[in-house]
Amino acid sequence: MLKKILMWGSLALVAIVFPYAVSSYTLYLINLSGVYVILVIGLNYVFGFTGQISLAHAGFWGLGAYTSALLTTRFGFSFLGGLVISGLIGMAAGLLVGLPSLKLKGFYLAISTYAVGGIINLVLNNWSSVTRGADGIPGIPPPQIGSWVANTGMKKYYLMLVFVILVVVAFDRLKKSRIGRGLQALGDNEFAAESMGINTYVYKLIAFSASAICAAIAGSLFAHLIGYTSPDNFTSAESITLFCMLLLGGVRSTLGPVIGSVLLVLLPEFMRFLDEYCMLIYGICVVILAIWAPEGIMGFIGNRIARRQVAKNVMLSSQKSGVSECD
């Protein structure tokens, strides 16, 4: 217990002091990776839990960003108002895109969701009267809650920190609940899940909408963080990047998306001095990870811990037998 308090205490301290120790550019990147953490956690609901492939994720992200951008710049909505409405629109879009997943599987689902992502991007690019097309929407105000305006990198950092913690905690609680188990059961064996009383239709739709809500909220935060949105940010290539982050960090894990996102946002930036060799080394790193840690970084760590646990249990079982809490 004391160990836990110490660990969380020191983590909290690091998180609070951190922005004072880095340059403003690094802080900007960290804030950006916060957006990615929320996006990847969203993907974790649909791909991690239920194993459904959604390549519409960048589309949901863009939808959230544009909803917030338009509501605040044109209709005078507050930051939080825009965020909530973005989330709701994301949920609706997620449900709609989730519908084909009831019938389609694997590559077919991947292709159809890829198309949805592409369509959203095309709409953002071509519906000029609303989205201003390729010019994008400038002048989005910084996040403001009451009279508190997050107009500096540091303030934005704390705001992002709060949102990331909320999303991570929500994911963790769901994961350890009956609903989270239902979603994971569906991902592991759809037939058995249905026979065990889990309505797989409903659960697929839950996964898609939860995932799209996260993406839309991330979009809203992104718009206010950068102050500008353009269709270029939300291409289907971004959906693939999100998959890389999730696979790198560890599918289904709570902390995996955090690690994967931060690494993949920061790594290319820190290797920029290598010029053209940057992408080469980046590629090699990804390949090495894919070979040595195919279950991602958290999966790799988890396996190590599990192995040690088994060894420990074997030693203990000779002394006493009893059921212990997992984790």
């Binding site: 609940s177 009956r178 064996n189 037939f191 058995a192 899940a193 026979s195 889990i198 599990a306 997992c326």
Partner: protein, 262 residues
């Protein structure tokens, strides 16, 4: 569990399932009573698994009706049938591989728990209490089926026999009225089979109805109160183990001709 003293809890009338031109199940009448172990046997491809799939809602029947707890069942999802109180295991083990053993069993209690998304996100006291309760029940049923080992390990790490009994625990936790076991003894060694037979008897004593598809005659003849025999999708015989062993039609279905006297 509702009590249906001696009366049938589950009945099929002229139940049929056709795939294209082939009847996998044809005009089957079967009646399942609580407190009994009902064996379902027949050569490979005789429609035993299809019958269970039709009854548990995986397939919609082509014709016929299913009466469960005095109610004719409409076509509905397998998850709804499970909620009504009929649960099954599978011919090939279908555990949730990435979940831990105890979580696998806890999934079985899904339809008997209620926590919604908002209370879960807020982690209310009710949710924590329900979670604790489900975990304790899962431990109880794992203990009941005789699972030994680490309940926190992932299901994919389990050997064959433990997988089968974890599946049974996952089915039992929902407190079903009827439980179907699809070839529970397949791939077990003689010692494991004995344990399984003993477990099946204990399940029968719980008061619910147990239906077992099985190829191992020692298991079937040893514990069943009543046996139905399927061949080419139709029921060719029904009776006590001794009656079945001497039934001419059954011997013919299995051996081709009646040379051997039992």
């Amino acid at each position: 569990m509702t009590s249906f003293n001696g009366e049938a809890i589950l009945e099929t009338k002229q139940l049929s399932k056709r795939f294209g031109g082939l009847y996998a199940v044809k005009n089957v009448d079967i009646s399942i009573r609580p407190g009994r172990i009902h064996g379902l046997i027949g050569p490979n491809g005789s429609g035993k698994s299809t019958l269970i799939n039709v009854i548990t809602g995986v397939y919609t029947p082509t014709a016929g009706e299913i009466t469960f707890k005095n109610e004719i069942l409409p076509p509905e999802r397998a998850s709804v049938r499970m909620e009504r109180g009929m649960v099954r295991t599978f011919q090939t083990s279908r555990l949730f591989e990435e979940l831990s053993v105890i979580e696998n069993v806890m999934v079985g209690a899904h339809c008997r728990t209620k926590s919604g998304i908002i209370p879960i996100l807020l982690k209310t006291r009710g949710v924590t209490a329900e979670e604790k309760n489900v975990r304790e029940r899962a431990e109880y049923w794992l203990d009941f089926v005789g699972f030994e080992g680490d309940v926190c390990q992932k299901a994919k790490a389990l050997a064959h026999a433990p997988r089968r009994i974890v599946e049974i625990a996952r089915a039992l936790i929902s407190e079903p009225d009827v439980i179907f076991l699809d070839e529970p003894a397949a791939g077990m060694n003689p010692e494991e089979k004995l344990c399984l037979m003993e477990l099946m008897c204990r399940i029968g004593e719980l008061g619910n109805a147990l239906v077992a598809i099985e190829h191992d005659m020692k298991v079937i003849m040893g514990i069943c109160n009543i046996i139905s025999v399927l061949n080419f999708g139709t029921k060719i015989a029904e009776g006590t183990p001794t009656e079945i062993q001497t039934n001419k039609a059954v011997i013919e279905a299995y051996l081709g001709e009646a040379k051997k006297n039992a």
